[in-house]
């Protein structure tokens, strides 16, 4: 915890600022110090590439294990990379059909524009992906990247 964060919390404890104001101040402070904070995949100045995409579904804690579903999927990023590279194999006619189908679904995207350098950028961007969902039944769904 930084000095500024401590000061904000002290001001909140002394009721000099409201909870909302403290929250806003902490957010602003967080975004300002974001560049200094350690981000996933960045260790001691070197950027490590994401290795696996993980999807886990865990049942509610204490749930009967005989009636609970568990999912644990680990997809290597190299497989994602190889899959995207397959798009370069698609002939022009088929690409047009894919583009038309995407346009019909409201996605204005040309699959011919996917280039190898974009793939790396996309995979590195995936490194910041983190989805954490908890259902009403207590099931937890997590999608994250492993380094």
């Amino acid at each position: 915890m930084t000095d500024n964060q401590k000061k904000i919390l002290e001001m909140l404890a002394e009721k000099k600022i409201s909870t909302d104001e403290a929250y806003r101040l902490l957010n602003v402070l967080g975004s300002e110090e974001g560049g200094q904070r350690e981000t996933p995949g960045v260790q001691a100045g070197t950027i490590t590439k994401p290795k696996y995409l993980r999807v886990t579904v865990t049942p509610k804690e204490g749930a009967d294990s005989e009636h609970a579903d568990r999912v644990n999927v680990r997809v290597p990023m190299s497989l994602v990379r190889a899959g995207i590279k397959l798009t370069s194999l698609i002939p022009k006619d088929a690409t047009d059909k894919v583009n038309d189908a995407l346009r019909e679904k409201g996605i204005n995207f040309d699959v011919r524009n996917i280039k190898p350098e974009d793939i790396e950028e996309l995979i590195n961007a995936l490194g910041e992906l983190e989805v954490d969902v908890e259902s009403g039944h207590g099931e937890k769904v997590k999608v994250f990247v492993e380094y």
Binding site: K51, Y52, E66, H67, A68, D69, R70, V71, N72, V73, R74, V75, P76, S78, L79, R81, A82, G83, K85, L86, L89, I90, P91, K92, D93, A94
Partner: protein, 92 residues
């Protein structure tokens, strides 16, 4: 390029039925190579015939891309456990 997976572990369970298999992929790779060499004249023919349609490139490069995808599966792990069913597929 990654090293290809050496083993594939399959495990299925549905009620009382169970099935598990350790597939030695490293033994299947030489067999696949022999099949590819045998089929290569047909692949070449398909490439020539399909070239004007644009699918010739697919026929020519598909084995290479398939090999790349196969190598990339190393580390893939799917583990789904239900109340009565289990599905596990792992490439090691």
């Amino acid at each position: 390029m990654n090293r290809p997976p050496m083993l594939m572990h399959l495990r299925f369970k549905d009620g009382k039925k169970k099935f598990g298999l350790w597939l030695p992929l490293f033994l299947l790779i030489p067999i696949a190579l022999v099949v590819y060499i045998i089929l290569s004249p047909l692949i070449l023919l398909a490439t020539i015939v399909l070239w004007p349609t644009g699918w010739g490139k697919v026929a020519l490069l598909a084995p290479w891309y398939a090999w790349n995808v196969f190598c990339a599966t190393r580390g893939l792990d799917v583990d789904v456990q239900g109340p009565r069913e289990i599905v596990k597929i792992a490439f090691i």
